[in-house]
Amino acid sequence: MRYHRPTSFADASAIAAGATGTLRFLAGGTDVLVQMRAGMVQPDDLIDLKHIPGVDQITRTPDGGWRIGVAVPGIVLGAHEGLVRDWPGVVEGMNLVGSTQVQGRATLAGNLCNGSPAADSVPGMVAAGAVATVTGPKGSREIPVGQVPAGPGRTTLAKGEVISAITLPPRGKNGGDAYLRFIPRTEMDIAVVGCAVNLRLDGDRIVEARIALGAVAPTVILSEAAAMAIIGTTLDDAALAALAKAAEAAAKPISDKRGTAEFRTEVVGVLARRAAKIAYDRAKGLEA
Protein backbone atom coordinates (compact mmCIF):
# COMPACT_ATOMS: atom_id res chain seq x y z
CA MET A 1 0.00 0.00 0.00
CA ARG A 2 1.25 3.45 -0.92
CA TYR A 3 0.48 6.11 1.68
CA HIS A 4 0.18 9.58 0.15
CA ARG A 5 0.21 12.92 1.93
CA PRO A 6 -0.74 15.52 -0.70
CA THR A 7 -0.82 19.19 0.29
CA SER A 8 -3.57 20.29 -2.11
CA PHE A 9 -6.86 18.84 -3.32
CA ALA A 10 -5.62 19.19 -6.89
CA ASP A 11 -2.71 16.88 -6.01
CA ALA A 12 -5.02 14.49 -4.16
CA SER A 13 -7.28 14.36 -7.19
CA ALA A 14 -4.34 13.79 -9.55
CA ILE A 15 -3.05 10.88 -7.45
CA ALA A 16 -6.54 9.39 -7.36
CA ALA A 17 -7.05 9.87 -11.10
CA GLY A 18 -3.77 8.09 -11.82
CA ALA A 19 -4.35 5.19 -9.45
CA THR A 20 -4.88 1.83 -11.11
CA GLY A 21 -5.73 -0.36 -8.10
CA THR A 22 -7.95 0.01 -5.05
CA LEU A 23 -8.00 3.56 -3.73
CA ARG A 24 -9.22 5.09 -0.48
CA PHE A 25 -9.16 8.59 0.88
CA LEU A 26 -8.26 8.95 4.54
CA ALA A 27 -9.86 11.64 6.70
CA GLY A 28 -10.70 10.46 10.22
CA GLY A 29 -10.16 6.84 9.24
CA THR A 30 -12.79 5.43 11.58
CA ASP A 31 -14.42 3.47 8.76
CA VAL A 32 -11.45 2.94 6.42
CA LEU A 33 -9.18 1.42 9.08
CA VAL A 34 -11.94 -0.94 10.23
CA GLN A 35 -12.51 -2.06 6.63
CA MET A 36 -8.77 -2.56 6.09
CA ARG A 37 -8.48 -4.62 9.24
CA ALA A 38 -11.48 -6.74 8.35
CA GLY A 39 -9.97 -7.37 4.93
CA MET A 40 -13.00 -5.84 3.21
CA VAL A 41 -10.78 -3.25 1.55
CA GLN A 42 -7.07 -3.56 0.82
CA PRO A 43 -6.08 -0.23 -0.70
CA ASP A 44 -3.16 -0.04 -3.09
CA ASP A 45 -3.20 3.71 -2.61
CA LEU A 46 -4.30 5.51 0.54
CA ILE A 47 -4.52 9.29 0.27
CA ASP A 48 -4.36 11.09 3.61
CA LEU A 49 -6.16 14.42 3.21
CA LYS A 50 -5.08 15.87 6.56
CA HIS A 51 -1.97 17.63 5.25
CA ILE A 52 -3.98 19.90 2.97
CA PRO A 53 -4.18 23.43 4.42
CA GLY A 54 -7.62 24.34 5.80
CA VAL A 55 -9.04 20.84 6.17
CA ASP A 56 -9.15 21.22 9.95
CA GLN A 57 -10.91 24.61 9.83
CA ILE A 58 -14.49 25.78 10.28
CA THR A 59 -14.89 29.18 8.62
CA ARG A 60 -17.73 31.67 8.08
CA THR A 61 -18.65 32.08 4.42
CA PRO A 62 -19.17 35.63 3.11
CA ASP A 63 -22.96 35.13 3.08
CA GLY A 64 -23.04 33.89 6.69
CA GLY A 65 -22.94 30.13 6.21
CA TRP A 66 -20.27 27.74 7.47
CA ARG A 67 -17.57 26.01 5.47
CA ILE A 68 -16.38 22.86 7.22
CA GLY A 69 -13.06 21.25 6.32
CA VAL A 70 -13.09 17.54 5.47
CA ALA A 71 -10.90 16.60 8.45
CA VAL A 72 -12.83 18.44 11.17
CA PRO A 73 -13.78 15.77 13.71
CA GLY A 74 -17.10 15.54 15.54
CA ILE A 75 -15.66 16.71 18.84
CA VAL A 76 -14.57 20.00 17.23
CA LEU A 77 -17.99 20.51 15.63
CA GLY A 78 -19.65 19.95 18.99
CA ALA A 79 -17.39 22.49 20.69
CA HIS A 80 -17.95 25.21 18.05
CA GLU A 81 -20.42 27.65 19.61
CA GLY A 82 -21.38 29.49 16.41
CA LEU A 83 -22.00 26.31 14.44
CA VAL A 84 -23.99 24.72 17.27
CA ARG A 85 -26.09 27.88 17.60
CA ASP A 86 -26.88 27.94 13.86
CA TRP A 87 -27.19 24.22 13.07
CA PRO A 88 -27.75 22.22 16.27
CA GLY A 89 -29.45 19.41 14.33
CA VAL A 90 -26.47 18.88 12.03
CA VAL A 91 -24.06 18.84 14.96
CA GLU A 92 -26.19 16.54 17.14
CA GLY A 93 -26.42 14.05 14.26
CA MET A 94 -22.64 13.96 13.84
CA ASN A 95 -22.10 13.76 17.58
CA LEU A 96 -24.20 10.56 17.73
CA VAL A 97 -21.61 8.72 15.60
CA GLY A 98 -19.62 6.26 17.73
CA SER A 99 -17.84 6.87 21.00
CA THR A 100 -15.89 9.80 22.45
CA GLN A 101 -12.80 8.24 20.89
CA VAL A 102 -14.46 7.98 17.48
CA GLN A 103 -15.66 11.59 17.80
CA GLY A 104 -12.02 12.58 18.15
CA ARG A 105 -11.43 11.45 14.56
CA ALA A 106 -14.66 10.92 12.60
CA THR A 107 -15.72 13.58 10.08
CA LEU A 108 -18.85 14.72 8.25
CA ALA A 109 -17.24 14.07 4.86
CA GLY A 110 -16.15 10.59 5.91
CA ASN A 111 -19.57 9.71 7.31
CA LEU A 112 -21.07 10.88 4.00
CA CYS A 113 -18.62 9.04 1.74
CA ASN A 114 -18.76 5.80 3.72
CA GLY A 115 -22.17 5.52 2.12
CA SER A 116 -24.07 3.93 4.99
CA PRO A 117 -27.85 4.37 4.67
CA ALA A 118 -27.85 4.77 8.47
CA ALA A 119 -25.15 7.48 8.63
CA ASP A 120 -26.26 9.74 11.47
CA SER A 121 -24.80 12.99 10.13
CA VAL A 122 -26.31 12.77 6.65
CA PRO A 123 -30.04 13.47 7.24
CA GLY A 124 -29.14 16.64 9.17
CA MET A 125 -26.89 17.87 6.38
CA VAL A 126 -29.50 17.09 3.71
CA ALA A 127 -32.27 18.82 5.68
CA ALA A 128 -30.00 21.84 6.16
CA GLY A 129 -29.37 22.04 2.42
CA ALA A 130 -25.64 21.43 2.82
CA VAL A 131 -23.45 21.51 -0.28
CA ALA A 132 -20.42 19.31 -0.96
CA THR A 133 -17.55 20.81 -2.94
CA VAL A 134 -16.15 18.08 -5.17
CA THR A 135 -12.66 18.49 -6.60
CA GLY A 136 -11.69 16.39 -9.58
CA PRO A 137 -9.29 16.37 -12.51
CA LYS A 138 -11.38 19.03 -14.29
CA GLY A 139 -11.65 21.37 -11.31
CA SER A 140 -14.26 21.81 -8.60
CA ARG A 141 -18.05 21.64 -8.63
CA GLU A 142 -20.69 21.96 -5.96
CA ILE A 143 -23.47 19.44 -5.44
CA PRO A 144 -26.13 18.97 -2.77
CA VAL A 145 -24.87 16.59 -0.09
CA GLY A 146 -27.85 14.32 -0.78
CA GLN A 147 -26.50 13.60 -4.28
CA VAL A 148 -23.28 12.03 -2.94
CA PRO A 149 -24.55 8.65 -1.67
CA ALA A 150 -25.44 6.21 -4.46
CA GLY A 151 -26.36 3.21 -2.30
CA PRO A 152 -24.89 1.23 0.58
CA GLY A 153 -21.10 1.74 0.48
CA ARG A 154 -21.20 3.63 -2.83
CA THR A 155 -21.02 7.27 -3.88
CA THR A 156 -21.69 9.12 -7.12
CA LEU A 157 -18.17 10.58 -7.19
CA ALA A 158 -16.23 9.80 -10.35
CA LYS A 159 -12.66 8.51 -10.53
CA GLY A 160 -10.27 11.16 -9.31
CA GLU A 161 -12.96 13.11 -7.48
CA VAL A 162 -12.74 13.94 -3.78
CA ILE A 163 -14.89 16.03 -1.44
CA SER A 164 -12.88 19.13 -0.57
CA ALA A 165 -15.34 20.91 1.77
CA ILE A 166 -18.88 20.83 3.12
CA THR A 167 -20.78 24.10 3.32
CA LEU A 168 -23.87 24.82 5.38
CA PRO A 169 -26.03 27.72 4.18
CA PRO A 170 -26.67 30.83 6.28
CA ARG A 171 -29.08 29.97 9.09
CA GLY A 172 -31.10 33.16 8.72
CA LYS A 173 -33.80 34.30 11.12
CA ASN A 174 -36.47 32.18 12.80
CA GLY A 175 -35.01 28.86 11.72
CA GLY A 176 -34.41 25.66 13.64
CA ASP A 177 -33.26 22.11 12.94
CA ALA A 178 -33.11 18.82 14.82
CA TYR A 179 -32.06 15.20 14.33
CA LEU A 180 -33.34 12.14 16.15
CA ARG A 181 -32.54 8.49 15.66
CA PHE A 182 -33.88 5.29 17.13
CA ILE A 183 -31.49 2.70 18.57
CA PRO A 184 -32.44 -0.02 21.07
CA ARG A 185 -29.93 1.32 23.62
CA THR A 186 -28.63 4.77 24.55
CA GLU A 187 -25.20 4.93 22.93
CA MET A 188 -22.74 3.18 20.60
CA ASP A 189 -25.17 1.79 18.06
CA ILE A 190 -26.23 2.27 14.46
CA ALA A 191 -29.50 4.02 13.62
CA VAL A 192 -32.50 1.77 12.99
CA VAL A 193 -34.25 4.91 11.75
CA GLY A 194 -33.15 8.55 11.68
CA CYS A 195 -34.98 11.76 10.89
CA ALA A 196 -33.85 15.37 10.49
CA VAL A 197 -36.17 18.38 10.30
CA ASN A 198 -35.13 21.88 9.29
CA LEU A 199 -37.75 24.61 9.21
CA ARG A 200 -38.32 28.36 9.24
CA LEU A 201 -41.16 30.29 10.86
CA ASP A 202 -43.01 33.50 10.12
CA GLY A 203 -44.56 34.22 13.50
CA ASP A 204 -46.05 30.87 14.58
CA ARG A 205 -46.46 29.57 11.05
CA ILE A 206 -43.98 27.31 9.22
CA VAL A 207 -43.00 28.87 5.90
CA GLU A 208 -40.14 26.57 4.88
CA ALA A 209 -39.34 22.97 5.77
CA ARG A 210 -36.95 20.25 4.67
CA ILE A 211 -37.32 16.76 6.10
CA ALA A 212 -34.75 14.01 5.59
CA LEU A 213 -35.24 10.36 6.53
CA GLY A 214 -32.33 8.02 7.26
CA ALA A 215 -31.99 4.20 7.33
CA VAL A 216 -35.36 3.67 5.63
CA ALA A 217 -34.03 3.31 2.06
CA PRO A 218 -30.68 2.58 0.31
CA THR A 219 -29.92 6.31 0.49
CA VAL A 220 -31.20 9.23 2.54
CA ILE A 221 -34.67 10.46 1.50
CA LEU A 222 -35.54 14.16 1.24
CA SER A 223 -39.32 14.02 1.49
CA GLU A 224 -41.15 16.88 -0.15
CA ALA A 225 -44.50 15.40 0.88
CA ALA A 226 -43.45 15.42 4.54
CA ALA A 227 -42.35 19.05 4.22
CA MET A 228 -45.63 20.03 2.54
CA ALA A 229 -47.53 18.41 5.42
CA ILE A 230 -46.27 21.06 7.85
CA ILE A 231 -45.63 24.12 5.66
CA GLY A 232 -48.33 26.71 6.29
CA THR A 233 -49.26 25.19 9.66
CA THR A 234 -48.43 26.03 13.27
CA LEU A 235 -47.43 22.40 13.79
CA ASP A 236 -50.75 21.60 15.43
CA ASP A 237 -51.94 18.05 16.01
CA ALA A 238 -53.43 17.74 12.54
CA ALA A 239 -50.16 18.85 10.95
CA LEU A 240 -48.16 16.42 13.07
CA ALA A 241 -50.47 13.56 12.10
CA ALA A 242 -50.16 14.49 8.42
CA LEU A 243 -46.38 14.70 8.79
CA ALA A 244 -46.16 11.23 10.33
CA LYS A 245 -48.34 9.78 7.58
CA ALA A 246 -46.24 11.43 4.85
CA ALA A 247 -42.97 10.23 6.41
CA GLU A 248 -44.33 6.68 6.68
CA ALA A 249 -45.42 6.79 3.03
CA ALA A 250 -42.02 8.08 1.90
CA ALA A 251 -40.06 5.37 3.71
CA LYS A 252 -38.97 2.31 1.73
CA PRO A 253 -37.20 0.27 4.38
CA ILE A 254 -35.92 -3.29 4.39
CA SER A 255 -36.15 -5.76 7.25
CA ASP A 256 -32.80 -6.67 8.75
CA LYS A 257 -31.25 -7.59 12.09
CA ARG A 258 -31.80 -4.07 13.41
CA GLY A 259 -35.50 -3.84 12.67
CA THR A 260 -38.34 -4.96 10.46
CA ALA A 261 -39.67 -2.83 7.62
CA GLU A 262 -42.98 -2.46 9.50
CA PHE A 263 -41.22 -1.26 12.65
CA ARG A 264 -39.06 1.18 10.73
CA THR A 265 -42.09 2.58 8.93
CA GLU A 266 -43.90 3.24 12.19
CA VAL A 267 -40.85 4.70 13.92
CA VAL A 268 -40.03 7.10 11.09
CA GLY A 269 -43.41 8.76 11.64
CA VAL A 270 -42.81 9.01 15.38
CA LEU A 271 -39.33 10.50 14.91
CA ALA A 272 -40.57 12.97 12.29
CA ARG A 273 -43.19 14.30 14.72
CA ARG A 274 -40.73 14.58 17.60
CA ALA A 275 -37.91 16.11 15.54
CA ALA A 276 -40.34 18.64 14.03
CA LYS A 277 -41.40 19.75 17.51
CA ILE A 278 -37.78 20.23 18.59
CA ALA A 279 -36.93 22.13 15.40
CA TYR A 280 -40.04 24.28 15.88
CA ASP A 281 -39.10 25.11 19.48
CA ARG A 282 -35.54 25.92 18.41
CA ALA A 283 -36.88 28.23 15.69
CA LYS A 284 -38.91 29.97 18.40
CA GLY A 285 -35.77 30.27 20.52
CA LEU A 286 -37.37 28.07 23.20
CA GLU A 287 -34.64 25.47 23.37
CA ALA A 288 -30.89 25.69 22.92
Binding site: R37, A38, D48, G98, E187
Partner: protein
Protein backbone atom coordinates in the same frame (compact mmCIF):
# COMPACT_ATOMS: atom_id res chain seq x y z
CA UNK B 1 6.94 -1.76 0.21
CA UNK B 2 8.85 1.18 1.62
CA UNK B 3 8.61 1.97 5.32
CA UNK B 4 7.64 5.37 6.63
CA UNK B 5 9.90 7.28 8.98
CA UNK B 6 7.80 8.57 11.90
CA UNK B 7 8.93 11.12 14.46
CA UNK B 8 6.58 11.66 17.35
CA UNK B 9 6.51 12.69 21.01
CA UNK B 10 5.28 9.96 23.32
CA UNK B 11 4.71 10.85 26.99
CA UNK B 12 7.02 13.82 26.54
CA UNK B 13 9.87 11.85 24.93
CA UNK B 14 10.83 12.26 21.30
CA UNK B 15 10.56 8.89 19.52
CA UNK B 16 11.49 7.74 16.04
CA UNK B 17 10.60 4.51 14.30
CA UNK B 18 9.97 3.01 10.89
CA UNK B 19 6.37 2.01 10.25
CA UNK B 20 4.77 -0.14 7.62
CA UNK B 21 2.23 2.02 5.74
CA UNK B 22 -0.66 -0.13 7.03
CA UNK B 23 0.58 -0.31 10.60
CA UNK B 24 -1.67 1.22 13.27
CA UNK B 25 -0.49 3.56 16.00
CA UNK B 26 -1.49 0.83 18.46
CA UNK B 27 0.84 -1.72 16.85
CA UNK B 28 3.67 0.82 16.66
CA UNK B 29 3.33 1.68 20.36
CA UNK B 30 3.37 -1.98 21.36
CA UNK B 31 5.81 -3.45 18.87
CA UNK B 32 8.29 -0.65 18.11
CA UNK B 33 8.24 1.37 21.32
CA UNK B 34 7.59 -1.47 23.80
CA UNK B 35 4.72 0.49 25.34
CA UNK B 36 2.47 -2.50 25.95
CA UNK B 37 0.18 -0.79 28.47
CA UNK B 38 -2.08 0.18 25.57
CA UNK B 39 -4.16 -2.91 24.80
CA UNK B 40 -5.83 -4.29 21.73
CA UNK B 41 -9.37 -5.44 22.49
CA UNK B 42 -11.43 -5.41 19.32
CA UNK B 43 -9.19 -3.62 16.84
CA UNK B 44 -12.24 -1.92 15.34
CA UNK B 45 -12.80 1.09 17.60
CA UNK B 46 -15.63 -0.45 19.61
CA UNK B 47 -14.00 -1.31 22.95
CA UNK B 48 -11.67 1.58 23.82
CA UNK B 49 -8.91 -0.62 25.31
CA UNK B 50 -6.41 1.08 22.99
CA UNK B 51 -7.37 4.64 24.05
CA UNK B 52 -4.57 7.22 23.92
CA UNK B 53 -4.58 10.98 23.40
CA UNK B 54 -3.09 12.56 20.28
CA UNK B 55 -2.45 16.30 20.58
CA UNK B 56 -4.76 16.18 23.59
CA UNK B 57 -7.69 14.48 21.80
CA UNK B 58 -8.89 11.09 22.99
CA UNK B 59 -8.73 8.52 20.19
CA UNK B 60 -8.58 4.77 19.59
CA UNK B 61 -4.99 4.03 18.60
CA UNK B 62 -6.26 1.05 16.56
CA UNK B 63 -8.16 3.47 14.30
CA UNK B 64 -5.14 5.55 13.41
CA UNK B 65 -2.14 4.72 11.27
CA UNK B 66 1.29 5.03 12.87
CA UNK B 67 2.25 7.30 9.96
CA UNK B 68 -0.53 9.70 10.98
CA UNK B 69 1.20 10.23 14.34
CA UNK B 70 4.15 11.93 12.65
CA UNK B 71 4.77 15.28 14.33
CA UNK B 72 2.05 14.62 16.93
CA UNK B 73 2.09 14.48 20.72
CA UNK B 74 0.91 11.08 21.96
CA UNK B 75 0.06 10.31 25.60
CA UNK B 76 -0.40 6.73 26.79
CA UNK B 77 -1.09 5.02 30.10
CA UNK B 78 2.67 4.78 30.71
CA UNK B 79 2.80 8.57 31.03
CA UNK B 80 0.02 8.82 33.60
CA UNK B 81 1.81 8.25 36.91
CA UNK B 82 4.54 10.58 38.09
CA UNK B 83 6.54 9.70 41.20
CA UNK B 84 3.20 8.64 42.66
CA UNK B 85 0.19 7.06 41.01
CA UNK B 86 -2.31 9.45 39.42
CA UNK B 87 -5.39 9.97 41.64
CA UNK B 88 -7.47 8.03 39.10
CA UNK B 89 -5.09 5.07 39.35
CA UNK B 90 -5.19 5.14 43.17
CA UNK B 91 -8.98 5.38 43.25
CA UNK B 92 -9.36 2.50 40.79
CA UNK B 93 -7.38 0.34 43.23
CA UNK B 94 -9.26 1.62 46.30
CA UNK B 95 -12.67 1.03 44.73
CA UNK B 96 -11.66 -2.25 43.07
CA UNK B 97 -12.77 -0.73 39.77
CA UNK B 98 -11.11 -3.53 37.84
CA UNK B 99 -10.97 -7.28 37.85
CA UNK B 100 -9.01 -8.66 34.91
CA UNK B 101 -7.61 -5.19 34.20
CA UNK B 102 -7.47 -5.44 30.43
CA UNK B 103 -9.76 -2.45 29.86
CA UNK B 104 -8.23 -0.41 32.68
CA UNK B 105 -5.46 1.47 30.82
CA UNK B 106 -7.93 2.67 28.21
CA UNK B 107 -10.51 3.66 30.81
CA UNK B 108 -7.92 5.55 32.85
CA UNK B 109 -6.67 7.45 29.79
CA UNK B 110 -10.27 8.24 28.77
CA UNK B 111 -11.28 9.29 32.29
CA UNK B 112 -8.25 11.58 32.58
CA UNK B 113 -9.22 13.24 29.30
CA UNK B 114 -12.76 13.76 30.66
CA UNK B 115 -11.62 15.33 33.92
CA UNK B 116 -9.30 17.70 32.07
CA UNK B 117 -12.32 19.01 30.13
CA UNK B 118 -14.89 18.68 32.88
CA UNK B 119 -13.52 18.48 36.45
CA UNK B 120 -16.99 18.02 37.98
CA UNK B 121 -19.02 15.70 35.74
CA UNK B 122 -22.33 14.10 36.63
CA UNK B 123 -22.55 10.30 36.72
CA UNK B 124 -24.44 10.46 33.44
CA UNK B 125 -21.70 12.53 31.83
CA UNK B 126 -19.08 10.01 32.99
CA UNK B 127 -21.14 7.12 31.62
CA UNK B 128 -21.62 8.75 28.22
CA UNK B 129 -17.98 9.80 27.97
CA UNK B 130 -16.88 6.23 28.76
CA UNK B 131 -19.53 4.56 26.56
CA UNK B 132 -16.78 3.57 24.14
CA UNK B 133 -14.79 1.77 26.84
CA UNK B 134 -16.08 -1.74 27.38
CA UNK B 135 -15.49 -3.62 30.64
CA UNK B 136 -16.74 -7.18 30.78
CA UNK B 137 -15.94 -7.74 34.49
CA UNK B 138 -17.07 -4.93 36.74
CA UNK B 139 -20.51 -3.89 35.57
CA UNK B 140 -19.22 -0.28 35.48
CA UNK B 141 -20.60 0.94 38.82
CA UNK B 142 -17.25 0.75 40.59
CA UNK B 143 -15.59 2.48 37.65
CA UNK B 144 -18.01 5.40 37.86
CA UNK B 145 -17.52 5.62 41.64
CA UNK B 146 -13.73 5.56 41.28
CA UNK B 147 -13.79 8.29 38.61
CA UNK B 148 -16.08 10.47 40.75
CA UNK B 149 -13.96 9.96 43.86
CA UNK B 150 -10.79 10.84 41.95
CA UNK B 151 -12.51 13.89 40.46
CA UNK B 152 -13.53 15.05 43.95
CA UNK B 153 -9.99 14.62 45.24
CA UNK B 154 -8.51 16.42 42.23
CA UNK B 155 -10.91 19.35 42.73
CA UNK B 156 -9.87 19.49 46.39
CA UNK B 157 -6.16 19.42 45.48
CA UNK B 158 -6.74 22.08 42.85
CA UNK B 159 -8.42 24.36 45.40
CA UNK B 160 -5.62 23.65 47.88
CA UNK B 161 -3.03 24.67 45.31
CA UNK B 162 -4.87 27.84 44.31
Amino acid sequence: MSKIHVTTTVNGDRMEFLAEPRETLLDALRNHLDLTGTKEGCGTGDCGACSVTVDGTLVCSCLMLAAEANGKRVETIEGMAGADLHPLQRKFIEHAALQCGFCTPGILVAAKALLERNPDPTDTEVRYWLAGNLCRCTGYDKIIRAVQDAAAEMRQDHRGAA
